[in-house]
């Protein structure tokens, strides 16, 4: 009897949180209605912002794949002074308010020496796609780096050692043994980073209001026209994100 009531309690509590997490998403689609959704999908400004958001988040992800995977590998494989400090630095963006991160980025890459340095190469961060990219990257990179780090830790170092004795150079070992065997965690981390990037608002809005990413567009329409104009945009970006997410998951699950 006691056991049964405990089970009921577990299920009830679990149901509450599942309800809380899923209903707003479902409500988004049901509440908006199909006419509004179709109309929004045809709206050029919405489509452009969704494309911009997905594209720039993918850039940010690519940049962190190139720079973050080596970092994750170094942390996973080597013991060196300052390793914990670097691990803490990676985690800081997860803990700070996003608007504060935006301000920090603005004071670093805005009208400063570093900003001028990049301007020399034709790269500006305020009001450009580069600005959106660094804002997304700053706040979502930890998801990819930490996941890749866990993945690399799971790859037995002996696999790499044996591969060396079989003739492979360190770089071949990295690409042919280490990355393929940590693939699952790297892909999960990359997807997580990309989807977190899509949702980034606080830091993006401080660096770049125009061109508008979808979260900024939703905020803008909500502020200017109210709920009925912003909700369909929200529904469409959620729909697109879920589709892309599922497609990538499906494609990668079929990879060996």
């Amino acid at each position: 009897m006691q056991k049964k009531s405990f089970t009921v309690l577990l299920i009830t509590l679990a149901f509450i949180i599942v309800f809380f997490l899923s209903v707003p998403i479902l409500k988004m689609f049901v509440g908006v209605g199909s006419d509004k959704l179709i109309e929004t999908i045809k709206d050029g400004e919405v489509l452009a912002s969704i494309w911009l958001t997905m594209k720039v988040s993918a850039w940010a992800m690519m940049f962190v794949l190139i720079t973050g995977l080596p970092l994750a590998y170094i942390i996973a494989r080597y013991n060196f002074p300052g390793r914990s400090l670097i691990e803490s630095i990676i985690d800081i963006p997860v803990m700070i308010p996003h608007t504060a991160a935006g301000i920090a980025l603005l004071t670093t890459f805005g009208d400063t020496f570093l900003g001028d340095f990049f301007k020399f190469f034709g790269i500006e961060f305020v009001g450009t796609e580069y600005g959106i990219m660094i804002a997304m990257m700053f706040l979502s990179a930890p998801f990819l780096i930490n996941s890749a780090k866990d993945g690399f830790r799971k790859v037995d170092v002996k696999l790499e050692k044996v591969a060396r004795t079989l003739g492979a150079s360190p770089i071949s070992v990295f690409f042919r043994i280490t990355i393929p065997n940590a693939k699952k965690d790297i892909i999960n981390g990359a997807l997580m980073m990309w989807s977190r990037g899509l949702g980034e608002f606080g830091a993006v809005v401080i660096l770049v209001y125009h061109p508008m990413t979808t979260p900024v567009l939703i905020f803008d329409r909500f502020n200017s026209y109210g709920l009925s104009f912003s909700a369909p945009v929200a529904a469409v970006i959620i729909g697109f994100s879920v589709l892309v997410f599922l497609a990538v998951r499906f494609a990668t699950s079929r990879l060996k």
Partner: protein, 328 residues
């Protein structure tokens, strides 16, 4: 000049020190490195393969290879846990080295390995679906396919079901001959060593304690630690036998000690002893007696004796002959 020479080879990683290892290994020798877990056996193998930073010299066929990268040494490595690549199937695992090395007569070699190691059925399988023995055969085939001159085997039998160990030991010997190898085999099991080895080195705490022909090392340990590790029992100072040297020790097999509760046995050495304990185990008794504060361990067959000397504290006589003593 030996085929493979290790000269003052040292390597320190974390807290473990591999300390000034000097070994000479001849061509086509089956060399067994014997030591307990944590003694530095695997570390030494990895150092020979160039996988650890080290000081000292490794000379192979009169050429110093200490500075060569692992991929440039002609060394094959089989780890205890086999370290097969999970992202590749059996055939891809075996052929891994062909991407990086030119393998002479690779087709013939591959077919021969598949045939000799009975891998035909497994080639397209994923490695997670293999048994321990199958994984080992794949790992050996993978190492041999790179045509190494020296094969390093790290505890190759410890992850294998005990029922297959004898047959695998035999195949290891066959592989060594068939592929014209010089093998360095690491183990903690001295029976394995005595069956396989031409030469044995005993390693303890990162230091080589003794090197020699298999039967010499196994029968004449160089010091007490080696003797204890090799399973020698009843190790006592030779002063007990009346010798003046206090630094020498002797050992006597528990199975050859005579014991009687009535009279002194007719042996070269006899002692009066106090019985401390007697345990009946299946077909024999384990008897512990005290002679001048040294505890002797004796094994006697039940069918040859009438019961145990049950009462602790009783006086008994023990004896053994000169020929049964080994000096350390």
């Amino acid at each position: 000049m030996s085929y493979l020479q290790l000269e003052n080879l040292s390597s320190t990683i974390d807290d473990f020190v591999l300390d000034n290892v000097n070994l000479n290994i001849e061509e086509n020798e089956y060399f067994v490195l014997l030591g307990q877990s944590g003694s530095g056996k695997t570390r030494l193998l990895e150092t020979i393969a160039g996988l650890n930073s080290s000081s000292g010299k490794i000379v192979y066929k009169d050429k110093d290879i200490s500075e060569l990268h692992p991929e440039q040494r002609e060394i094959g490595f089989v780890y205890q846990e086999f370290a097969l690549f999970p992202n590749l199937n059996v055939e891809q695992n075996i052929k891994f080295s062909s991407k990086y090395k030119k393998i002479d007569n690779s087709k013939e070699l591959f077919d021969d390995l598949v045939d000799f190691l009975k891998l035909g059925e497994l080639l397209k399988r994923d490695i997670e679906n293999l048994s321990g023995g199958e994984k080992q055969r794949v790992a050996i085939a993978r190492a041999l396919f790179s045509r190494p001159k020296i094969l390093l085997l790290d505890e190759p039998l410890s992850a294998i079901d005990p029922t297959f160990r004898n047959s695998i030991m035999k195949s290891l010997k066959d592989i060594h001959k068939r592929y014209d190898l010089t093998t360095i085999h690491v183990t903690h099991n001295f029976r394995e060593a005595s069956y396989l080895a031409n030469k044995i080195a005993i390693i303890m705490n990162g230091k080589i304690q003794q090197v020699g022909r298999s039967e010499d090392v196994l029968n004449h340990p160089a010091n007490i630690d080696v003797a204890k590790f090799l399973g020698f029992k009843n190790i006592f100072p030779s002063s007990l036998l009346g010798f003046s040297s206090s630094s020498k020790f002797f050992s006597v097999d528990p199975n050859v000690i005579h014991v009687s509760n009535k009279e002194k046995p007719t042996c070269d050495y006899t002692f009066e002893a106090t019985l401390e304990d007697c345990m009946g185990v299946v077909d024999h008794y384990k008897i512990f007696v005290n002679v001048e504060n040294h505890q002797f361990f004796i094994k006697i067959l039940k069918r040859e004796y009438e019961g145990c000397y049950a009462n602790g504290g009783n006086k008994v006589f023990i004896g053994f002959d000169k020929k049964d003593i080994g000096f350390i």
